[in-house]
């Protein structure tokens, strides 16, 4: 049996993996920044602002991530914003992920009873100290488990970007399989997809463990 195909395939998948990691990282950053900002706005005393936040979260959580990717990729050039597939993917995944992260941040902040803030202020603590030493530590604990969970979801979703032409690890795998199928009798599809699967598992499983750990630590 000829094993010569393996070398080039692994090299190509490796390049794809770098793209996957890069897209995941960028969209996680976008989703985290936008998500926490939007989620915090939900605590605003202004009802109009809260309604906007609610609308944003409901809208993006209600649409499949693939659809958002396609919309961003094809719609942005229509309004004069030429974007490459990578930028479009980061924007699309980032917006989509930010809605779930906003919801997690909002939930964490609202889960802290207002009595906690009152108890701190009754001790004479300043507004800043109340936020820093009483409210945020408690909110962070509740935010962390769903947040880490969302990270794995975002990394999974990065596999969709091959649809808009990104050569991520899944896109690279498909390119190699098509090439092998053209050249010889066996495309090795099962083995190659198996490698992709193993890579995603190796990235996301530790995150799942981390989320579980954070979840358990939460119950003090």
């Amino acid at each position: 049996m000829n094993e010569a195909w393996i070398g080039p395939v692994v090299a190509h998948l490796g390049r794809g993996l770098l793209v996957t990691l890069w897209i995941s990282l960028l969209s996680v950053v976008v989703a985290t920044v936008v998500g926490i900002a939007v989620g915090s706005l939900a605590t605003s005393p202004k009802p109009a602002l809260r309604a906007v936040v609610r609308g944003y979260v409901t809208l993006f959580r209600g649409i499949p991530s693939l659809l958002i990717l396609l919309c961003v990729f094809f719609a942005l050039p229509q309004i004069g914003l030429a974007t490459g597939p990578l930028t479009a993917s980061v924007i699309g995944l980032g917006l989509w992920g930010s809605a779930n992260i906003a919801e997690a941040a909002r939930g964490a902040l609202f889960s802290i009873s207002p009595h906690q803030g009152e108890a701190a202020r009754a001790l004479g603590m300043s507004a800043r100290a109340t936020l820093r030493d009483v409210l945020l530590p408690q909110a962070a604990r509740r935010f962390l488990p769903p947040y880490i969970g969302q990270l794995t979801v975002l990394i999974h979703a990065s596999a969709l970007t091959s649809v808009v032409g990104v050569s991520d690890i899944l896109g690279s795998a498909r390119q190699m399989i098509e090439r092998l199928a053209y050249m010889g009798p066996d495309s090795h599809a099962i083995l190659i997809y198996g490698m992709v699967l193993a890579v995603f598992f190796a990235i996301c499983y530790p995150l799942t463990l981390l989320a579980d750990y954070a979840e358990r630590r939460l119950r003090v």
Binding site: H115, L123, M125, S126, D133, V220
Partner: protein, 259 residues
């Protein structure tokens, strides 16, 4: 500032407080002298909690004045009634301890860390000293054996005793208690009341909102009966609880007789 035993620690004058259109306090006058224990009785919705919350400015108020230890609460003294600002409100709150019905301990901190929080974060006391003083306070409320436990691991009565220690750690001029035994199982009420009784005996100035008639009768220097946002009747418990002057207080007492 020199003070004598007759100086009021808390002085409330013509206090009016509304939530939107609903007027909840309709002109409250109350002086509490150093070392005095004032028990506030009254039906639900009469404004007892709101009055306490005004005293440490957890609530704003529309008119009237409050002073604690001679310091104005919430607004500049004088005719201008400018808000004091958050920093000065915090300063006043250092001198007013408050214990809540729902304990409100910080669940992410251990018992001793809860007690140290005020001294360390507000008064910038060194941690070692704050811990030492905190342990002494925990011993006083019978909770030193749980210093390293988290609040979630304690019974309601235990949590409430820690909450009292947490307030005492700031060495307040006056302690406010808002129905601190109402959320407790009946068998846990006694241990908290015992701590409060001890504080009263040591001469702590206290304003206590409670439905515990026995505590009012035995511990209060003065009982204040509120209804509909006004003080209807006040006096020594031996006098007014035995012979209420108003029908409203009489009815209230007979409704709560079983306690």
């Amino acid at each position: 500032m020199t003070s004598t035993a007759s100086d009021p620690i808390v002085s409330v004058r013509k206090l009016h407080k509304s939530f939107d259109k609903l007027e909840v306090l309709k002109g409250i006058d109350l002086d509490v002298r150093r070392g005095e224990v004032v028990v506030v009785l009254g039906p639900s919705g009469s404004g007892k909690s709101t009055m306490l919350r005004c005293i440490n400015f957890l609530e704003t108020f529309q008119s009237g004045t409050i002073t604690v230890d001679g310091r104005p609460v919430g607004y500049e003294a004088g005719d201008h009634r400018r808000p004091l600002g958050e920093a000065r409100n915090a300063k006043v709150r250092e001198h007013v301890g408050m214990v809540f019905q729902s304990y409100n301990l910080f669940p992410h901190r251990t018992v001793i860390e809860n007690v140290m929080m005020g001294p360390v974060k507000v008064k910038k006391v060194a941690r070692a000293l704050a811990r030492e003083k905190g342990m002494a306070l925990l011993a006083k409320v019978g909770m030193d054996h749980k210093a390293d436990a988290y609040p979630g691991q304690l019974s309601g009565g235990q949590q409430q005793r820690v909450a009292i220690a947490r307030s005492l750690a700031m060495e307040p001029s006056v302690m406010l208690f808002d129905e601190v035994t109402s959320a407790l199982d009946p068998e846990l009420v006694g241990e908290v009341l015992k701590v409060m009784r001890g504080l009263a005996q040591e001469g702590m100035t206290m304003i206590v909102v409670t439905h515990e008639m026995g505590f009012a009768r035995q511990v209060a220097d003065r009982v204040v009966f509120m209804d509909g946002g006004v003080i209807v009747e006040e006096g020594a418990p031996g006098d007014i609880m035995a012979a209420p002057k108003t029908e409203r207080f009489g009815n209230f007492l007979s409704r709560n007789l079983d306690q």
